[in-house]
Symmetry: C2
Subunit: 243 residues, 2 copies
């Protein structure tokens, strides 16, 4: 089974896999960069910069396409089995999650454009905190993926609760702004969707954490993750009825 030929094939397969991992980490870093740029754009209300963020999303989409092609090629040429197949599948799923993260970041930037036309409201600053939590999650889970570190992935998975709670608090806060003054309604609905986008980025980070876990252990990160977006559950106070 050994010999130079076999070794060459093995090395080359490992190399291809390492290249795939590198591509995905790079794609992930672009997506985090997009999220940070989007928030910067919201704070500065810079329409041109916002359009740049929206346009850059194309790059991430193309990277996902390329990664899919690489995966197909790898499957066709190598027909990997068991653990190797898990690696390839994880790559495919993680690339799809990163692509979604990029979409959400671009949508945050896009929504900052109508926002920039209305009076700045204090509410927008709450978004920055959410985005920082989300960006940290994505960075950490990318590191976990790069290092095949299941425990670190599990930590990210757990930390997402913090983002969910911050989102819920921010959602309530926006409702009160809207009730105080009808002129706040339109900008605040944009902020609601922007916040929801960021909360969804956290969900994709936990998806990636699950993929890393599965890749390392070959079984699902099983503990039922409770959904913590309380804004869609009955616990939310019906502020609207109190006025």
């Amino acid at each position: 089974m050994s010999g130079p030929n076999k070794e060459h094939i093995i090395k080359s397969y490992d190399e291809e896999l390492a290249r795939l991992t590198g591509e995905i980490v790079r794609m992930g870093e672009l997506a985090v960069g997009q999220l940070e740029a989007a928030i910067d754009v919201v704070e500065r209300r810079d329409e041109r910069a916002a359009q740049r963020v929206v346009a850059n999303d194309e790059v991430i989409d193309q990277l996902e396409q390329e990664i899919s092609h690489d995966v197909v090629r790898l499957l066709a040429l190598r027909a990997p089995m068991a653990g190797d197949l898990r690696n390839v599948f994880a790559a495919l799923r993680i690339a799809a999650d990163i692509e979604r993260i990029g979409d959400y970041a671009a949508n945050v930037a896009k929504r900052s454009i109508p926002l920039s036309m209305v009076a700045p409201i204090a509410a927008a600053s709450g978004l920055t905190y959410l985005a920082e939590l989300a960006a940290t999650e994505v960075r950490d889970v990318l590191a976990a993926y790069r290092d095949r570190d299941a425990e670190r992935a599990h930590e990210v998975w757990q930390n997402d609760a913090e983002l969910d709670e911050a989102y819920t608090g921010y959602f309530r806060q926006l409702l009160t702004y809207m009730m105080e003054d009808p002129r706040n309604i339109t900008p605040c609905t944009h902020l609601l969707f922007m916040a929801k986008n960021i909360e969804r980025i956290g969900d994709h980070a936990t998806n990636i954490a699950e993929s890393v876990w599965f890749q390392v252990y070959g079984e699902p990160l099983n503990a039922q993750r409770s959904k913590r977006d309380f804004t869609s559950s009955p616990e939310l106070p019906h502020l609207g009825n109190k006025n």
Copy 2:
């Protein structure tokens, strides 16, 4: 290359692929059923039924897991090439899109629970129309997938513009309800998210249409699809400033 043995293998592969297609269509029908049940629940404001819809989403999630396993098995055992590999990849992507459609339908049902506690507002009825458009799209694209009918898939892809426009109109309508009476704000934010979920279901139907197209022709449905969610672009009137 011929002979009974080879034929047996080919037939069995075709059978497995046909079974996979059948599973995916079944999964898709469950997801459409969930969307219809969710809307029924919104109309009747039935909390128990809503919780049933939320719980049923688990079934769709499990089906996706099973399909992923089947795909891994198929790849490992058969190492399919070219067209066959495209079929298998399309199956994987379509299953992921259907899983998301199921999630969005469950979220619509979940948000109907807080909605049922507030006074019924006329605005909710607009949601039914959006849901009907989305359900039709999903049914049509499933049929296109089942029959490998790229032209029908392309039609669905084009028809999604109608849903996007209806969504934009509904979004504006909800903003006016919110401005008329602050008591409408909380229920209308739920309706905003519910409508957005339905609009996203349409996006996943177009993703499926793209997968069908790629499966049939081996090249992407290339014409740049313009994003038509005008609610996140500057064209939206800033009603909030006019009061």
